[in-house]
Amino acid sequence: MNQPSSTQFNFQKRLRRRTVLRGSGVAMSLPWLSAMRSAFASDSSHETATGRPPQRFVAVTVGLGLLSENWMPEGEGKDFKAPLYLRSFDDLRDSLTVASGVSHPDVAGGHRAEASILTATPMGSAGRAVNTISVDQLLAKHLGDATRYPSLVLAASGGTSPCYTESGAMIPPITSPADLFDTLFVDGEAKHRQQQAARVRQGRSIMDVVAEDARSLQRTLGRGDRDRLDAYFSSVRGLEQRMQQAEQWAQRPKPHVDAEQPRDIRDPNDLVGRFRSMCELIALTLQTDSSRFITLHLPGGGGVIPIEGVREGYHSLSHHGQDDTKLAQLALVEEAIVSQWGELLRSLAGSEDAHGRLLDQTTSLLTSNLGNASNHSNRNMPALIAGGPFRHAGHLAFSQKDNYPLPNFYLSLLQKCGVEVEQFASSTGTMSGLS
């Protein structure tokens, strides 16, 4: 990995120049970001070569879909008529593309397709198919070395994420904003830090010991077992590498922010409250350049979401069966989710650095595996795209019957970010209508 270009400067002093960072609601006008980057992030080789602003990606994935009549605009192009959920998005219109009539080819299985949201790989029903790398992890693999954390995998609750490694293993998400804040911004007591550092160091030596052990074990095993152990091997190597990077970053202090450590909302049903807490940390993560590739999953739980007017469990509401009272309650939940995403975009629009608005360096996608949760359909996925290096197109209306492949957007994204690939999953090219 690259070393920061100006490690010698007195970052403490520089940091004090940065005014306040009190959560994401506060708009930042000082061009502080570039000043801090030299202290905290090293530019990945790609940027150094091209001199382009760094590219970031934030995906928000919803487990239970969004009611299409409430997010799909009327009319096409920039002059679309805002649907219910986008009523408050007027200020963001120029940075927004709503793609309708898109989905992942051949991906089915209702809730099971959560595994495919960011990989676009059909998982079959028996779960025997092996998943492939998700777009955020592919970005992190190529460009993630620039920041302390190559990627962040977050969820409002639960234990699943749509993010997968190259070997097809799901990456467990962080669900506690308090823990995440600690991870990102708190250096901890020296004694504890030393203990942790010592354990990480010992862990690295252990990886050497067990890699050797695995090799001797493999010699005694049949071929099938040996193949399985290969996954263990690459995990050992991967962890060793991660630990090495972590050790290097551990020598540098974490960025200090004036925001206080958030208190975790312990009510697992408070999906929107938990989403909000995470959004505030996502903004701080991007502002301090602690990571550039972030995903946040909003799982569909069974409980009642504490929003005025909502009385029934979220999952049960999603099976609305066209019942008006359920549809109305579901719309309250979903509008709160989409509006909160809008708040995140706004806080990025309000942060600037030498390259301009943070929003223009951050592509954000709000999507779901379900186009219709009531019958578990994976066609016609919601795809709301904002920010980043795109010339936004308003409403891109593809055919509801003959869906356009969403992996094409992932390919566009990868290429815009500078990853030189020609194909992602079942993509057939880059996204038409979005350049």
Binding site: G124, A129, I171, V210, D323
Partner: protein, 836 residues
């Protein structure tokens, strides 16, 4: 692969489609077995009309079919082809006529090729490869290895279930994220063990009378109980964590034995008791989540009950009436003032005495010390207020030898087999390295010694020999003694082999059917083994999902958490009885008895059944051992209850909260009870969108499938069992009519019609007839149970060549009418279980 299908034929072919197009994960095996040219010719001549070229029906192209069975996907495709043709599902009966003579040549030839290929493959690679410990396995193994009893699984990333099970080797993944998490888990376990060995056990107990339980003085408003006539009383209300006992907050996470004496207050005349719940939680508004401990029926006479529960630091008990049918008190502003409940005339619970005591079910301190530090003991160091391993003035050489011995011994246990010094040496070497490092960094010898052992154990616990069940087999494919001991132990107890099993393995005493039977019976009575049924059913029957949906209160106004837990207890006690008494498998669905308590009987609307049942007959007799009052209840022949399919737990997990779907339930019955695997639905056929406005019934919607020959091929199989259960609503209650939403209110809708005709032509008019029909087919039920047990026990799905084994198990258990326990024993004695 085509994305648009023009014909509904895909319904039948999707399974094939999926198998053909998924990339290969296993390397091909060099067997010569292949499909004969004549079989291929048969396929081409009969299937080409519909399945020609890449645009063939369902994307299946006969031209692309390979005959090389060494490719796993090709192999599975042929199994599926064979099955569909053998069952007469393909070609569609209306479209094609195949002469019986042709079939008589084709089917045996394909069967033989498939069997040969499987045999060759198995001899070389075995059936199960590289199975990893599941989360639950890992938790228990660490607990047993270190003599600790902390829950660790909650620190682990959740697992995906494949065909119901979390530990199928083929579906397990590994990544550096998981390995990093594994390190954190073993650090947590080692921290607890070393603390316990060096700090000892912290004794803690409370014994409170009503004054200490009630934390509400006159004039105060909070959510604690109040003192009323000398007892601590909590009234019935909907207020969250009203009934918390602030004085019961624990400072340390741990296991606690809770002993409670309680009675009912203002119990309604029509009820024999007031049902109450015991839960724990932080009981603050930012943390409303509560963990279930148990339920009890409070009567006017005080009773004493006992529970053991893990309670995290900072949590306290909440004890309150928990019967949603009871009249509720109204309290303003989220608090309950002293005396405010009295005048509302609502039921309540009165506590006389609460005792809590910290317990250590994992083992006592000397046992933990012996495991970690060996037989040399510890001495107390008052400076650091901890005990330290006793090394006195042992020389450097003696200390390093001891470290090596200790790590070697630990590794033997962790690796679950005798292990050469050469194998454990890198770990001992590593521990010695830590010893030197620590000494150099200025640590005391005692501390360095402890750190060295900890480091050595940490490395051992990261080894693939610990993480994976490395199963070794002889030339005949049979597992060696130690692999078998582990397989048996993880199957029955979900943990590593115990001392007795290890001895049996070392003396090669796990060879005969009788030895295996003895060990299995012994393990089933151990504390871990007593949970075998519960663990197995959680996955087999999806009971692990019982909490996933929360029924709509408007539709299910008498469903509550006490009912839900009674439902789970009903199923677990029922299955335990089948196992303990070796009951005939037909009782699985046809039993004329079940387990109920008063609350569940009232929910099922069969209170009369429980009134005639002898109190606490089969379950543990004393109230304090059986606070939730479950008892064996016999049922009339015309009762709808009795048998698994009438259990509320099953009916709830197979519904989606508010609605039932005959398709979901039908597939569930086929896959979990009848042992028929159903291929996934095609991707572009819309699911039936439920419309609870009542414009169309689900039967009308599904009728469309049955009128289409291609859809019907699958739906005819699973729709009937689904419809048979339609009389049970999503909350498990019996219904004669659907409910229909009319202007925002639920009204009585169309009559339920549960009649149908099974695929084989047998007709049933209602659920009871369906139940009898299933119960009469004991062989199918037995074969399914054997299949489920083998899958769960070996960590791999059954394959074509296991079919004969299952048939044999069914035959072997005939003389006890396929007794539940006999099936288990036969499974364990089967080649599929004994071979790799």
């Amino acid at each position: 692969m085509p994305t648009i299908y023009s014909s509904p034929m895909i319904v039948m072919c999707l399974g094939l489609l999926y198998l053909w197009h998924t990339s290969c994960v296993l390397a091909a095996s060099p067997t010569d077995a292949s499909i004969s040219a004549s079989s291929l010719a048969f396929l081409q001549s009969h299937c080409v009309d519909c399945h020609d070229g890449p645009e063939g029906e369902g994307g299946f192209d006969v031209g692309s079919v390979s005959t090389k069975l060494d490719h796993p996907r090709v192999y599975e495709s042929w199994v599926r082809l064979f099955d569909r043709i053998e069952k007469g599902e393909m070609p569609p009966p209306d479209d094609s006529q195949i002469s019986p003579e042709e079939l008589r040549t084709f089917l045996p030839s394909v069967e033989q090729s498939l069997t040969q290929a499987a045999k060759a493959h198995r001899l070389r690679d075995g059936r199960v490869q590289g199975r990893r410990l599941s989360n639950s396995h890992l938790q228990r193994t660490l607990q047993d290895l270190l003599h600790i009893n902390v829950p660790l699984a909650r620190l682990m990333p959740p697992e995906t279930r494949s065909s119901g099970y979390v530990h199928l080797a083929d579906a397990q993944t590994m990544s550096h994220f998981q390995l990093e998490n594994h390190l954190q888990v073993i650090d947590a376990a080692l921290d607890v063990a070393f603390d316990r060995a060096t700090l000892g056990g912290q004794d803690w107990s409370i014994d409170y009378g009503p004054e200490k339980i009630a934390n509400k003085k006159p004039g105060r408003r909070n959510r604690d109980p109040e003192l009323r006539q000398g007892l601590a009383v909590t009234w019935n209300s909907g207020l969250i964590f009203y009934g918390r006992i602030s004085s019961s907050e624990v400072r340390e996470s741990g296991w606690y034995r809770i002993t409670l004496t309680a009675s009912s207050v203002k119990q309604p005349d029509h009820l024999p008791s007031v049902w109450c719940s015991v839960r724990s939680g932080p009981c603050t508004s930012s943390a409303p989540l509560l963990s279930w401990i148990g339920s009890f029926a409070a009567t006017p006479e005080p009773q004493t009950m006992t529970w053991d529960a893990w309670i995290p630091a900072g949590e306290m008990l909440e004890i309150r009436p928990a019967d949603t049918t009871l009249k509720r008190g109204n309290f303003a502003g989220g608090q309950v003032g002293f005396g405010e409940g009295e005048k509302q005339n609502v039921p309540g619970v009165a506590l006389t005495r609460l005792q809590m005591q910290r317990i250590f079910p994992g083992g006592d301190v000397p046992t933990v010390r012996k495991r970690l530090f060996g037989s040399h003991g510890v001495q107390y160091n008052s400076k650091i207020k901890r005990s330290e391993p006793n090394i006195d003035d042992a020389s450097e050489e003696i200390v390093t030898t001891r470290i090596a011995e200790q790590v070697h011994q630990f590794a033997q246990l962790a690796f679950r087999r005798p292990t050469d010094i050469a194998v454990t040496q890198p770990f001992s070497e590593f521990a010695r390295l830590v010893w030197h490092e620590q000494l150099q960094s200025g640590m005391s010898r005692e501390q360095a010694y402890a750190a060295a052992l900890r480091g050595g154990y940490r490395a051992v616990l990261c080894s693939p020999r610990f993480l994976y069940l490395s199963e070794y087999a002889g030339d005949d494919g049979q597992l060696d003694d130690w692999s078998l001991a582990s397989r048996l132990s993880y199957f029955v107890t979900g943990s590593m082999p115990d001392e007795t099993l290890r001895q049996a393995a070392s003396q090669s005493k796990l060879r005969s059917r009788e030895q295996l039977r003895q060990q299995t019976d012994r393990l089933l009575t151990s504390p871990r083994g007593q949970r075998f049924v519960e663990e197995f059913a959680a996955q087999w029957l999806d009971l692990v999902d019982i909490d996933f949906t929360e029924p709509d209160q408007r539709l299910f106004n008498d469903f509550d958490i006490v009912v839900q837990n009674a439902m789970l207890a009903e199923t677990n006690l029922f299955l335990q009885k089948l196992l303990d008494e070796n009951r005939p498998i037909s009782e699985l669905v046809g039993a004329n008895y079940t387990f109920l308590n008063e609350r569940l009987a009232r929910y099922y609307e069969i209170e009369s059944a429980i009134r005639s049942a002898p109190p606490t007959a089969d379950v543990a007799s004393a109230t304090d051992m059986n606070p939730d009052g479950m008892r064996l209840v016999s049922l009339d022949g015309d009762s709808h209850r009795g048998g698994l399919l009438s259990h509320g737990s099953i009916l709830k997990v197979t519904a989606n909260g508010n609605d039932t779907s005959p398709v979901l339930r039908g597939i569930w019955v086929c896959e979990r009870i009848l042992g028929e695997e159903i291929p996934p639905p095609p991707s572009n056929v819309p699911a039936v969108e439920p419309d609870i406005r009542g414009a169309k019934t689900i039967r009308e919607l599904l009728a469309k499938h049955e009128s289409d020959a291609s859809c019907a091929a699958c739906h005819r199989g699973f729709d009937p069992p689904g419809f048979a259960l339609e009389n049970f609503d999503a909350g498990g209650k019996w219904r004669d009519q659907y409910r229909q939403l009319v202007s925002k209110k639920y009204k009585r809708g169309a009559d339920v019609d549960a009649s149908h005709t099974m695929l084989d032509g047998r007709r049933f008019e209602n659920y009871n007839e369906f139940r009898q029909m299933l119960a009469a087919d004991a062989q199918t039920l037995a074969a399914n149970l054997a299949t489920q047990l083998l899958t769960y026990g070996t960590g791999a799905k059954l394959q074509f060549s296991d079919r004969a084994i299952v048939t044999n198990i069914v035959k072997q258990t005939q003389n006890t009418d396929h007794g539940f326990r006999d099936i288990l024993h036969s499974v364990i004695a089967s080649k599929t279980f004994l071979n790799k």
